[in-house]
C-alpha cells in the first residue's frame, strides 16, 4: 500500500460520522466497467464501500487481454464532495482533491486515494474503539 497523507486524528463525533452509512439519496455512485460486461452503476454507502470498490487493473490487462479485467471507477471530485457533504470530513476531502490534482491521469489516483480512505477508516476505528467501554 502507498503511504497516505498524514491526517489529524478526528474527534469521536466526526469519527463516528465517518464510519456511518449514507442514505439512498446521498449514496455515491461508482461505475464498474469491464469490456465484456459494460458499465454498471454501483451504489456506495460507506467509506469502506468506496475503498473496497476503487480498483483498476493494469493497462495491459484491460486493453491487451480478452476483456475481463475491470475498473471500479469513482470520480475523485465527486468522492471528495461526498466525503465532505455527507460525512463532514473536510480534511479527507481536501486530501483527495490534492491527490487528484497531483495525478496526471486517473489511474494514478486510484491507489493513493484508496490508501487515504483506508488510513482514515483505520484512524476512525481506533478513535471509536478507544471510546468504547472496556
Amino acid at each position: 500500500m502507498m503511504m497516505a497523507t498524514e491526517m489529524t486524528t478526528p474527534s469521536l463525533e466526526l469519527a463516528t460520522r465517518i464510519l456511518g452509512e449514507a442514505g439512498f439519496e446521498d449514496r455515491l455512485v461508482g461505475v464498474k466497467i469491464a469490456q465484456m460486461g459494460g458499465a454498471n452503476p454501483t451504489g456506495l454507502y460507506t467509506l469502506a464501500d468506496a475503498a473496497a470498490f476503487l480498483k483498476i487493473d493494469s493497462y495491459d490487462e484491460l486493453v491487451g487481454s480478452v476483456g475481463r479485467a475491470t475498473v471500479g471507477y469513482i470520480e475523485p471530485k465527486a468522492l471528495a464532495s461526498w466525503v465532505s457533504g455527507v460525512f463532514g470530513d473536510e480534511e479527507l476531502a481536501e486530501a483527495i482533491r490534492a491527490e487528484a490534482e497531483r495525478s496526471e491521469f486517473y489511474a494514478q489516483t486510484v491507489e493513493p486515494v484508496k490508501a487515504l480512505l483506508e488510513s482514515r477508516l483505520s484512524q476512525c476505528r481506533e478513535v471509536v474503539g478507544a471510546a468504547e467501554p472496556a
Binding site: F24, M36, F53, K55, D60, T70, V71, A107
Partner: protein, 695 residues
C-alpha cells in the same frame, strides 16, 4: 451439396415422439445458423403470435458449415432461435448462442441442426448418436442441476467406459470416438419454466438471453445429447489450412517473438486465457480453455473447479459485491456464485442487473423484512456466496422475491408496481424490451439502436472495443490511444462495405442522429445476422476490423470471413454477397416481429435514456465514455458521458434508418419492393395478408 454441410437437419416432434429430416439444401441460400433458423421458423411456425411456452413454438438449434472445422473463433458456436420468454412487453422471436463443442459434435453425427416442435408428454431427453435418434425418459435426470444432468447423461450414454472409446455405429475410426457426448441441458430454472432460464452446455457455455431454458422446460425437454463419429467434409482442405495459417499472422499465437502487449483491443488478436484471472482469488492457479478449434482460449479452468469455463458476466454479476465485502479482494465467493448460477441454469445478466436493483430498493427502505416489498434476503451477506445461494434458491423455488424474479426483471417490476418509476430513474437499468443495459444507448448509440430496432440486447462488440473501450481505457491511463480517431475512421471507411462512409463512427452529439450512423447500424445488423450468427464467427474474434498485427493496423475483415467460408464450402462468395444475405435475414426477422405486433411507435427506449444524463447522487459523471467524434472539421476522441437522448431526434434517426432499409417510415414495416428484391416475395405476401406490409 457444398462442403461443410452434412445435408440434413434433424426435425424432432416431441408431441408425437417422431423424428424426420429436412434437406439442408432447401435453406442453403441462408448460409447456416441464424439464417436457416429464421427461414425454418417462418415455414414451420404457422402462428407466429403464439407465446414462448406454447407447444407450437418452434426452436431451432443450428450449426454453420464452418462448425467442427479448424476455422478459428468460429467452429464451436451454436445458434438458438425461437419465440423467447424474456422479451417485454412482447415475447419476441429472438436468438441466443453458446460456445463449446456441441455444434461440432452435431456435425460429426451428421446433422446441420436440430428443429424442436411440440411438447413431450413427460420429461424427456433426446439421445443422438450419429443417425440414431432416441427419446429417453428423463426420470432421474429431471431435477438435477445443469452439471449433474450432463454427468448423468454421460453415464447413461457411455455406460461403464466413461472417458474411453464409445462405439456409435459407422463413420470415421470404425465408428468409434473418444469424445464425450455433447449435452445441451437445462437446470432447475428451466424445469420451472423461468423466463430467465438459460441453456447450459459443458461448463461455462450458456445461451442465457431469451429465456430458452424456460422454453425447453415448457416442452418437457431436459436435454439434447449428441455423439458423432463422423467428420466435416471440407471442399478445399489446403485452402482451409492456408487460411488458418494466414490468420495466425493476425493472432497473438503467431507473434511469440514480437508480441505487442497492448493493442487497442483488437478482437482477434487477444491473449489466450489471460483476462479471467482478474476474477479469481490471487492465489488460485488456472489454465486457459476454449471452444472447439479456437485460437483464443479466452476462458479458464480453476484449481478449485468452481465455475470452470465461465467468463464474462458469469463473474461480473458478483465480482464487485465480492470485492466490496472482502476489502477489495476477490475471493472464492465469486467463483462459487458463478458455479451456483451455472448449475441452476439462470441468465447471469438478470442476476447482475437484478442485484443492483434489489440493493437499491433495499437501501430506499422499500424492500426488506416487513417492508412494502417483503423479503428475508440477507443483505448483510451480500458479497458472500451465501447471499448468491439465497437469491438463486428463492428464484428456483419461486419463493419470496424469487416469485417475481422468476418471471424476469421487467415482469417482476411490473408486478411489484415499480416498472415505470424505476426505469425512469434508471435504478432498474432495463434499456429496451426488458433487457438490462449492457452498453449505454445514450453514449454508444450503435449498440442501443441495434437493440431497439432489433429485439434484444445485441451483445455484439464489433465496434464497442475500438470506439469505446480502447480510447476510454487509454484516457484513464493518460496515454494516447494506439490509433488516432482519424485513422480509425479511415480504416472503417475502407472496411465497412458497401457504405464506406468515414463518418459512420462519429459519436458526436450530431453524429449519433445522422445518416452515417444509420449506415453503421445497418452494416452491423447485416454483418452480424450473416457472418456472426449464421456462419457462427464468434463475437470475441470477429469482425476483425482493426488488428495491431495486420498491415498498417488493418484486420482480416472483409477478406477473412469469405476466405474461410469458401475454403470449407468450395463456393466463391464475396463479402458483399454475404452482407446482402445478412440484409435478407434481417428483413425476414423483421417480418416475424411485425407479425408479432411490431410497429415503429413501440420502438422507444425506457425513460431514463431520455431523461437522466448522469447518475443521481454524488456522482456527476459516469466513468469516462471516450469515443471518436468529428467536430469542427476534425476527428478526435472525446468523453460523451452524461448525454441524454433527444426523443425527437431519435425518431428522426429512425426515419433515416427505415428509409435506408427500404421500410415504410410511418410504420417501420418493409415494403413489397424491398422484400421482393431480397427474394422474400412470399414474406411480402404473408405481411400483406395480415395487412402489415409497408407502403
Amino acid at each position: 451439396m457444398a462442403g461443410g454441410y452434412t445435408g440434413k437437419i434433424l426435425r424432432i416432434d416431441l408431441t408425437k415422439k417422431a423424428v424426420s429430416t429436412i434437406d439442408t439444401a432447401k435453406y442453403e441460400e441462408y448460409g447456416g445458423g441464424h439464417g436457416m433458423g429464421s427461414a425454418i421458423f417462418w415455414d414451420l411456425c404457422k402462428d407466429k403470435t403464439i407465446k414462448a411456452f406454447d407447444p407450437g413454438n418452434v426452436i431451432t438449434i443450428m450449426t454453420s458449415p464452418l462448425s467442427g472445422t479448424i476455422a478459428p473463433a468460429v467452429a464451436g458456436r451454436t445458434e438458438v432461435q425461437g419465440i423467447g420468454a424474456q422479451g417485454y412487453p412482447v415475447e419476441w422471436f429472438t436468438r441466443s448462442n453458446f460456445g463449446g463443442r456441441f455444434s461440432g459434435n452435431l456435425k460429426f453425427a451428421g446433422w446441420d441442426g436440430v428443429v424442436i416442435e411440440g411438447k413431450a408428454e413427460k420429461p424427456t431427453w433426446v439421445d443422438i448418436r450419429n443417425d440414431k435418434v432416441e427419446f429417453r425418459d428423463a426420470a432421474g435426470v429431471w431435477g438435477l442441476d445443469a452439471t449433474a444432468s450432463q454427468e448423468e447423461i454421460w453415464r447413461r450414454v457411455e455406460g461403464d467406459h466413461v472417458g474411453d472409446w464409445s462405439s456409435v455405429g459407422s463413420g470415421r475410426d470404425g465408428g468409434r470416438t473418444t469424445q464425450r457426448p455433447a449435452v445441451l441441458t437445462i437446470g432447475p430454472a428451466g424445469e420451472s419454466m423461468s423466463r430467465t432460464a438459460a441453456l447450459i452446455h459443458d461448463s461455462g457455455n450458456g445461451a442465457g438471453q431469451g429465456g430458452f431454458g424456460g422454453v425447453f422446460g415448457a416442452k418437457n425437454l431436459k436435454a439434447i445429447s449428441v455423439l458423432g463419429s463422423g467428420g466435416v467434409k471440407v471442399a478445399d482442405p489446403k485452402a482451409l489450412m492456408d487460411a488458418r495459417m494466414w490468420s495466425n499472422k493476425y493472432s497473438v499465437a503467431g507473434h511469440a517473438d514480437d508480441y505487442i502487449p497492448a493493442g487497442i483491443g483488437s478482437m482477434f488478436a487477444g491473449n489466450p486465457g489471460q483476462g479471467a484471472k482478474a476474477y479469481a482469488p490471487a492465489d488460485q492457479p488456472g489454465v486457459p480453455m476454449g471452444c472447439m478449434a479456437c485460437s483464443k482460449n479466452c476462458r479458464v479452468r480453476w484449481q478449485s473447479g468452481a465455475s470452470n469455463g465461465s467468463s464474462c458476466v458469469d463473474y461480473l454479476f458478483y465480482n464487485s459485491h465480492d470485492a466490496a465485502k472482502h476489502g477489495g479482494k476477490q475471493t472464492q465467493a465469486v467463483l462459487d456464485a458463478a458455479e451456483m448460477m451455472q448449475r441452476a441454469g439462470i441468465n447471469a445478466y438478470m442476476l447482475e442487473a437484478g442485484i443492483i436493483w434489489l440493493a437499491n430498493l433495499h437501501k430506499l427502505g422499500i424492500l426488506g423484512p416487513g417492508k412494502q416489498i417483503p423479503t428475508d434476503l440477507p443483505f448483510d451477506q451480500l458479497g458472500e456466496a451465501s447471499f448468491a445461494k439465497a437469491l438463486i434458491d428463492k428464484i428456483l423455488n419461486k419463493k419470496d422475491i424469487g416469485a417475481y424474479l422468476h418471471e424476469g426483471l421487467a415482469r417482476a417490476a411490473v408486478k411489484l408496481g415499480r416498472y415505470e418509476e424505476d426505469t425512469k430513474s434508471g435504478i432498474l437499468p432495463l434499456q429496451e424490451w426488458g433487457y438490462p443495459q449492457h452498453y449505454d444507448a445514450r453514449t454508444e448509440v450503435e449498440w442501443g439502436y441495434g437493440s431497439l430496432i432489433g429485439e434484444r440486447d445485441i451483445n455484439e462488440h464489433d465496434f464497442n472495443t475500438m470506439v469505446f473501450w480502447a480510447p476510454s481505457v487509454a484516457a484513464l491511463f493518460g496515454v494516447p490511444p494506439a490509433i488516432t480517431a482519424k485513422k480509425l475512421s479511415e480504416i472503417m471507411a475502407e472496411k465497412l462495405v458497401p457504405y464506406k462512409d468515414p463518418k459512420m463512427i462519429d459519436y458526436s452529439d450530431e453524429g449519433i442522429y445522422s445518416d452515417s450512423m444509420a449506415k453503421l447500424v445497418a452494416w452491423h445488423r447485416h454483418y452480424t445476422r450473416y457472418f456472426k450468427q449464421s456462419l457462427a464467427f464468434c463475437d470475441w474474434g470477429w469482425s476483425d476490423l482493426y488488428n495491431q498485427y495486420g498491415p498498417d493496423d488493418r484486420g482480416m475483415t472483409p477478406e477473412g470471413e469469405p476466405k474461410f467460408f469458401n475454403a470449407v464450402t468450395g463456393k466463391t462468395q464475396t463479402f458483399e454477397e454475404g452482407m446482402e444475405i445478412g440484409r435478407k435475414i434481417w428483413n425476414l426477422d423483421r417480418a416475424i416481429w411485425i407479425l408479432q405486433g411490431r410497429h415503429r411507435d413501440m420502438e422507444v427506449f425506457t425513460a431514463y435514456n431520455y431523461e437522466v444524463g448522469s447518475i443521481p447522487g454524488y456522482t456527476t459523471y459516469e466513468a469516462p465514455y471516450v469515443m471518436p467524434v468529428f467536430e469542427n472539421g476534425e476527428w478526435k476522441y472525446k468523453s460523451v458521458v452524461g448525454r441524454k437522448l433527444d426523443r425527437k431526434k431519435v425518431e428522426d434517426w429512425k426515419t433515416k434508418f427505415f428509409t435506408l432499409e427500404g421500410w415504410d417510415t410511418k410504420t417501420g414495416w418493409p415494403t413489397r419492393e424491398t422484400l421482393s428484391k431480397l427474394g422474400l416475395s412470399h414474406v411480402a405476401d404473408e405481411l400483406e395478408k395480415n395487412k402489415k406490409l409497408g407502403s
